[in-house]
């Protein structure tokens, strides 16, 4: 008797477990018609469904969702489903496995430095024919942001949420000391050292800071007229003297307290917080923080070009949008991309909301952008700096070389290793990776 009862009990629990598992899989499709992302070639009412993977969380994610909603409401042929896929790096991982499994999206956001790797494996569609069909051309797009769009004469990505590093300035602090915003490395050195406050062998205030990232050393290499990779893509493009100059510049100032180099973990948040609370007067940081800084600082806040050495130069950042070669809905997906580029309710509104750089010439000339820049000149500085935009870290093997460059930065900035031998080791490692 007991035996029977217990086996029935066991069977029921087991079944209910399986049922729970199954219904968990089924129910989202029926209950969440609004947000459901079940991939189907055509959604309800004969609409073509376009899957769009992106990496925007937080406020910017909300702005992007709002843009997608506006598109879906604007017409009744295409339904775009935007899905957050984690950070830029995580999206790359997901995209790699999804392309292999043929479960990939129609459109994907790609951090600009990863685009070449995907272009090289022929998984990104050439958008030139689509552009032509829509009577548009590459010249309609912002030139400074096109560095990661054309590979092998194919237009494989369009700039979308793009940013650059820029110099954020606590003008109040500089004014107190009678200092002008630095325009060159030498001026930066003078200003930063003048801002340092040291009491009882402890730094109360530093001059400037920058997040732990390859972005800023690369910017400085370009400013010293070097290239990160050489033109043949066989080695790094700056010699030992130039590399030493860049890192010696940083290291010397780190030693005097002019530069605070933050710890690796959460370095971006640390430097933002130090800037807001007046622990540093200047900050190298993405244009992406302008909006939050403007709302939260209690001093006169301005932006300025990154200081020049031989020339002004800045790398670009952020992400582009690519049409996936494996998409079965390319025309529908293109319709969304086209709309995002030309419709004032599309990309333009997203740019106004988020503060990313306007990515078409039409946007730059639009009244809305002009009004925004009149109100917030800090944003115009970011756009103006684009005339000096140059991305020299372009190579299929960049993600691997980046890891090695990080190691070199760590050795120099944290472990006080001698600069020259460290860069020599980095060069050797880079050449090995570039050959592969």
């Amino acid at each position: 008797m007991w035996k029977k009862a217990s086996s029935v009990l066991l069977a029921t629990t087991m079944l209910s477990g399986l049922l729970a598992a199954c219904s968990g899989g089924e129910s989202p499709k029926t209950t969440d018609t609004g947000s459901s992302a079940a991939p189907a070639p055509s959604g309800p009412a004969g609409k073509a469904t376009v899957q769009f993977w992106h990496s925007l969380g937080g406020k910017n994610g909300e702005y992007l969702d709002a843009m997608i909603k506006r598109f879906n409401a604007s017409q009744d042929k295409v339904e775009v489903v935007g899905t957050f896929q984690g950070s830029y790096d995580e999206t790359v991982t997901k995209l790699q496995q999804a392309v292999a499994a043929k479960t990939g999206p129609d459109i994907s956001m790609l951090e600009r430095a990863y685009i070449q790797m995907f272009a090289d494996s022929d998984v990104l569609e050439d958008m030139t024919p689509f552009l032509k069909k829509s009577n548009m051309s590459q010249d309609d797009l912002t030139p400074g942001l096109m560095g990661h769009s054309v590979f092998d004469k194919k237009l494989v990505s369009l700039p979308f949420n793009r940013s650059t590093p820029i110099l954020h300035v606590n003008k109040t602090m500089l004014d107190e000391k009678g200092l002008a915003v630095p325009k060159t490395w030498e001026e930066l050195k003078t200003v930063a050292n003048a801002l340092v406050i040291k009491e009882n062998n402890e730094f109360k205030r530093y001059g400037y800071s920058m997040p732990y990232d390859t972005w800023y050393p690369i910017a400085m290499i370009s400013q010293a007229k070097g290239k990160f990779f050489n033109d043949q893509g066989t080695s790094i493009g700056f010699d030992s003297a130039l590399g030493t100059k860049v890192f010696k510049f940083l290291k010397d100032q780190q030693n005097t307290g002019a530069l605070y180099y933050p710890p690796q973990q959460d370095s971006g948040n640390i430097v933002n917080q130090m800037f807001i609370s007046g622990k540093i007067g200047l900050m190298y940081q993405s244009t992406g923080v302008i909006g939050s800084l403007k709302d939260n600082v209690k001093f006169d806040y301005v932006t300025s070009f990154l200081p020049m050495d031989a020339v002004y130069a800045t790398p670009t950042g952020g992400a582009n949008l690519s049409l996936m070669a494996g998409s079965k809905n390319k025309d529908a997906a293109w319709e969304f991309l086209r709309w995002a580029m030309i419709d004032p309710q599309g990309g333009l509104q997203f740019i106004l909301d988020s503060g990313y750089l306007p990515f078409t010439k039409k946007m730059v000339e639009s009244q809305q952008i002009k009004d925004l820049w009149a109100k917030e000149p800090n944003r115009k500085v970011a756009y103006d700096q684009l005339q000096y935009a140059v991305d020299t870290n372009k190579h299929v093997a960049w993600p691997q070389v980046m890891q090695e460059f990080f190691k070199a930065i760590q050795a120099i900035m944290y472990d006080n290793k001698a600069i020259e031998p460290t860069l020599d080791t980095f060069k050797k490692e880079a050449e090995r990776l570039l050959k592969g």
């Binding site: 477990g17 729970a20 199954c22 989202p28 991939p39 969380g57 499994a101 940013s163 939050s292």
Partner: protein
Amino acid sequence: MSFEWKYVRAPLSFLLKAIVLMIFIFPFLWMISTSLQTFQETLTFPPTWIPSIPQWVNFSTAMNAGPFLTYARNSIIVTFSVILIQVLVMIPAAYAFAKYRFAGKEILFSFVLLAFMIPGQVTFIPVYLMLADWGLINSLLPQILPFMANAFGIFLLRQYFMQIPQEIIESARLDNASEFKIIWKIMVPMSMPALATIALFSFVSHWNDYFWPLVMTDSAAVRPLTMGIAMLRETEGISNWHIIMAGNVVLVIPILIVYLFASKQIVKAFVYSGIK
């Protein structure tokens, strides 16, 4: 010498415990404090500990930032299905490994140990490709199926079962008890502390898991809470830490509740020795 030591030991042990407790509890307090602050307060330095006005609204802001009801439901279904199936697989498997003799037992058990040692980061691509091939990517099954057998659980429970004297099982067999009855009436009740421990570990690791759902799910409809909270972060720019921490508090509460119920059993599992 030993006399003096006695007086030092108690306060010292108290002090060490207090330090360890602080190390563990500090991040929790920080999280709760931040979850109740305004954005401005999260940015001030030195940091505020007690928010001037507790911002309960952060919780609703966090929960309204996405389909959090769907996320919560998915988290609950996935975690509880995993635990249930694991327990059902684990008990007979551990019993067989502990008490039976059969050909290939050692080899099979070494497979279990192997599974125990290989992290998900190694297997996720083949598993994803296989499940995509079966058309399961838009269901919750990719978060459940790969975890049906808990290798660590089988291992731990086997050790536990081996401590139970063979005589007890033999005498039950003499009384004509079926194998099922032996498991259900003898093995399971005697190993309750171990089972509770394994279930709790499993609960915490699946409830908190970020990596596996990230790589196994492509749409919001099948994602758990952890993914929803990751979405609160800014990709570039300054994150709203007060909102993210409010999300984290919501994520952690069920773990604390489950722990409250299971803690007694867990302590037992570690002090258990022999049969009473």
